[in-house]
Symmetry: C2
Subunit: 503 residues, 2 copies
Amino acid sequence: MINGNIIGFEVSVKSSDKLYAVNPLTLENLPETFVPSTEEEVNLAMEKAFDAWRIYRNISGDDRSAFLLEIAKGMEALGDRLIARVMLETGYPEARVKVEFARTCNQLRMFADEALKEDWKEVSFDDAMPDRKPIPRPSLRKTMFPIGPVVVFGASNFPLAYATAGGDTASALAAGCPVIIKAHDSHLGTNALVAEVIMEAAKKTRMPDGVFSSLNGDGLATGKQLVQHPRTAAVGFTGSLGGGRALFDLGQQRATPIPVFSEMGSVNPIFLLPEKMKEDIEALAGQLAASMTLSGGQFCTQPGILVALDDETTEQLKIALCDKLDKVDDPVLLNQGISQSYRQGIAQLENSDAVKLAFHRKAAKDQAVSPALAVVRAEQFIHNPTLHREIFGPFSLLVLCSSLKEMSRVAEVIEGQLTASVYMREKERVTALPLIDMLIERVGRIIINGVPTGVEVCDSMTHGGPYPATTDSRFTAVGKHAVMRWLRPVTFQNFPKSLWINM
Amino acid sequence: MINGNIIGFEVSVKSSDKLYAVNPLTLENLPETFVPSTEEEVNLAMEKAFDAWRIYRNISGDDRSAFLLEIAKGMEALGDRLIARVMLETGYPEARVKVEFARTCNQLRMFADEALKEDWKEVSFDDAMPDRKPIPRPSLRKTMFPIGPVVVFGASNFPLAYATAGGDTASALAAGCPVIIKAHDSHLGTNALVAEVIMEAAKKTRMPDGVFSSLNGDGLATGKQLVQHPRTAAVGFTGSLGGGRALFDLGQQRATPIPVFSEMGSVNPIFLLPEKMKEDIEALAGQLAASMTLSGGQFCTQPGILVALDDETTEQLKIALCDKLDKVDDPVLLNQGISQSYRQGIAQLENSDAVKLAFHRKAAKDQAVSPALAVVRAEQFIHNPTLHREIFGPFSLLVLCSSLKEMSRVAEVIEGQLTASVYMREKERVTALPLIDMLIERVGRIIINGVPTGVEVCDSMTHGGPYPATTDSRFTAVGKHAVMRWLRPVTFQNFPKSLWINM
């Protein structure tokens, strides 16, 4: 395992400091040491990326495709060794890691395929009209051009799929942009393994030196320097609202502002219409409890809010839900910061007059946390915006409404979300339609009779949404259109055929 | 002429202050008075726009198209009265105004046509795969959704085409977004005439009250309140770097940041390769002088920098260019602020050791300014970034290079631009290709053997570019793709057919 920083085709060790990854299950440092990057190394990586951009953007889509496929192959060759390291650094069970591993390789292959097709180039032509009156029209040809070096900050909860060789990296490399990854402090070993795969793939497929770098960091300085660096053209981030907003602000305050696409998660409310609830309360409770607690509830699309009428059916659902939660093991969360935030979030609710905890217990182990369900009346919820914010982990807040109208009012006061779900029967259509129309204002994806967890990687996916779900709702972080974040249009006017090379 | 603020279908007069437009040719106030908007009126316009959005976004593309066509018809019905008012407020000659008038109506018709087709909806489907292993795939359908109320700040130099019913307004209305225009202080009468046309068109085609408002402002407060208003979803601005950056910063510093698309102009460099120059120096000088001085040089795409080898041919071009400029009338610029900035810019060059004025004279009238050509050696230019910035008006800086390599270095140090041009012969292809490759990094449109002025309104146009040309190079302000600034994707997952109304 490489313990230094990967800068293009070189491994660089300048600092004498050491970093460790932590096993969240034991809270002990893992044995391998890693070396943080220095200011000089950040500069070198960015200069190399910029030089590489000038070559990489002009190589064929076929070659970029081959590079991406080689990364997928390299990851598969690592196989169990990589999966074991992810388990050590996250505490995730093997099955969870294997699903993410397969998804990451599939994403790389999808973007390899897209690089081959390059249908995002959106080439359009307007032919010359030399005889047009009063003035002739020149020929115009438009295509998409890679924006430049992209800095990627990976997610704590997806050490493979939203990290070193994850969706941001794969889409940027497919588009023709070099990538500089800031290794996540919690996954230094996972990052080192995958970063080495990418470096070797770049060498093998003869990509330019600097098309990829991986930098470890100590504290916030590395990230700040990366976002402020004049060679940085765009930033992709997945993580907390605080972190994502801070990087966004740094990017916008630059002398030359750059796009910072921060995907910051959300509470993904589920609206439960009464007729649908009555159909099968047991099954519904099972589905909701699973979505709430999957991977310790550590998904961007975890449902943090459930909205229902304050009636007997909802009371039955609450009881069934507590029952299901009681059968779920107490998860150990990804790192101590996340565990602490979760415990604080629940403690604050316990002290709140407006909110009642319906399910919560003393966790089985010190490192673990208990799943939790709390209940609040819509009237209180509507007037208390702190209750609208995410408590990252296996928690949901059940909001009890006195009427369908109040349900709609809850939809109106919530902030921007990645998703919202509506559980309904066909015959509840008249109630559902205005609710859906309201929810579209707030979300990037709206789901009928389904939980928000489970993000299909396909053309029609939108993994994005109004702030604070992301910093720019006009883009998606998942699916082939994720490349659009890293491309800008360029028009070629009056170009003779002899100049149409690589354009 | 309406002298109050148009707030939806009402004319509102709350302030007792008065505003006047100025005739730039006489520097006298025009007789009509206008009333600035109050804080309360801004709030009312934004609330109306938000309510209108909830209706307007769900009406059919056919209806939005009819609304846009009705605006074009209304402008044509005003005809000469409108043209006369534009001439009074800008000092532009009739022919110039008529061209812009025709373009504005054409743009409205183009966006009416686009609203009908709605091909920007980018609808994509991924069918359900209920039997897929290990997990079934739900059906997914993606489309584009209008972002919300758009605040538009018009340009001083295009009182019709980039203003009240200009490209930003037409594209936003086509997309399904209500528009609130902040009237340009220099074109209060033009704005009043066009805004009334839009209000009447909205009434006639039964659009919701609030789909359009027009607010006069006194100083910067109105603009600031509009950008900071919680109901504002996006901003379109065309104007100076200072103004555009200030609005961008306000938009990004909000609790909920919003897209601010500022198009701030540029120096649109023209690179002249030696063999091409020799072909016909007279014709080239004529073309360049015309592009430099068209409409007093007050185009976003005016060529502010000419780059050539320091040789005998360039010396001949310089002489020919001075000759042409000598035959151009001294223009009166759009307003006193612009005239003053222009005079200060030229005066600073006069005091510079590095720059020599090759053409400049005492203007024929006090209000007018002289066209100007200055010369600087590339070595000086490269190390003096203040010379890279725009002097808005009929001015170009000729940069003399000691080699083709130095020419390429000039391309490398300039900032982001709307356009760059390369004059070349086919046989200069080997020199031109790396220069073009460098210029693509800097621009939104690159032109072979043509001047940058003359922005074709068509699908393949990019009127945008890296900062400081615009605040987001991923979008264009001209052509049908201008609507993409006001749209965001939404995915509908597992929707039964019965819910696919208006989606």
